[in-house]
Symmetry: C2
Subunit: 242 residues, 2 copies
């Protein structure tokens, strides 16, 4: 049996739901996990709202191997992610000595006052490990199977690079793409038959509309190379016969 | 009391979770709803998986005024959204005579065979109303408070234009933005005090990092113009005093 490892993402922030900010982290994480053979199964976006974060996080962390969060770990009043996550895990939260040291040193180097707001970024749930932030120092953290990261894409990506080597990957997911000039309506039934005959693969059909005409791409994914190649051959043979 | 109307989005598709396709509909819907005074409260992305669609849809449609879905209503075997939604509502699903007529006429005009795959796009849950598709004819549908639309962005947007006039809008949400060259750590505590003193507004602080330095934007949102303007004035005064 191929080894599968699952994950979910919880993106946190009013700005994602108002349209002010167009999320860039979901697609990045999806690509990152696919390369590691980890299946991203679900994504949720919620507001900076404690009840919403707690409920979603608890639903996701019980169901999937890993959960990745983005957003809400900065120094302002609307950054409530760390406190909400402590609540979800039922643990206390306070200024973490390791994080305080990092931030104090950073402020000293840069001649910044170590304000209460900056100290807020050292609030870490009890028992969590820190995730290094090579961009702007204020750390993320890992608690249980949950990795809590910043929402600014450059920082999210840098934190993900720190977390990456700690993740248990699944067997790699192989993917073959077949470009196609036929409409989905021309091959839909035949493709469905191919899917049934190749149950160890997941076959997707993706139309694109460029404003004038359609093209489609058929994608065959799976963890068994023989099965993926057999399904790909069947798809090409079917398209040749149209 | 200002009138609030809430919404959620359910984006459906393996390709969004594998990273193959970067979603463009969530941000578009967020902007669209904000202009209508409707609060987008939650977004979920799930795979082409019946159980996942049914569970998420039922959770969202009970909680919010409107639910908008994207994806999975095409002619291939992986397009299972319509059937999953029928199951979520506990209604039957079959080829809908109105949709069959539209699609048959479209095929006749374009000289396309009206294949079983194309007929699949006429499967509409019992009791649903159709959503016109001016781009490629195959309709979306509305059942209860759920609007089911295509995943291809140009078609999603065209369908949303059809649905728009049927939506009950909320009182418009006003938004004021204040650009700021200070770091969040410099004003975080003071901004938190302003938020407390202006409870009828939601104040967000958004850092941006361009690879070299940070800038931030403070956004004040609310439905009471006087309250929003008062909070904005307090923010500007606070920044001037730094």
């Amino acid at each position: 049996m191929p080894k599968t490892v699952t994950a979910a993402m919880l993106a946190i922030g009013d700005e994602l739901l108002s349209g002010r900010t167009k999320d860039k982290n979901i697609g990045y994480l999806a690509d990152f996990l696919t390369l590691k053979g980890i299946d991203l199964k679900e994504v949720r976006i919620v507001a900076d709202d404690e009840a919403a974060i707690v409920e979603s996080l608890n639903a996701l962390r019980e169901r999937y191997t890993y959960v990745f969060t983005s957003g809400g770990i900065g120094p302002t009043h609307d950054d409530i992610t760390a406190d909400a996550i402590a609540k979800a895990f039922g643990v206390t939260i306070d200024h973490d000595p390791r994080a305080m040291e990092l931030l104090a040193a950073h402020c000293a180097t840069r001649g910044l006052e170590f304000t209460d707001a900056r100290k807020r970024m050292a609030r870490i749930p009890d028992g969590a490990g820190l995730i290094d932030n090579p961009v702007s120092v204020a750390p993320g953290f890992t608690i249980g199977n949950v990795h809590v990261m910043a929402g600014v894409p450059s920082i999210f990506q840098a934190m993900l690079d720190q977390v990456g080597p700690t993740l248990e990957g699944g067997d790699p997911l192989l993917s073959k793409s077949v470009d196609c000039s036929f409409g989905e309506g021309d091959y839909g039934v035949a493709l469905g038959e191919i899917q049934k005959a190749h149950p160890d693969t997941a076959i997707g059909s993706y139309p694109r509309f460029d404003g004038k005409s359609y093209s489609t791409q058929i994608v065959i994914r799976g963890r068994d190379e023989t099965a993926v190649l057999a399904a790909e051959a069947a798809v090409r043979e079917m398209l040749d016969s149209l």
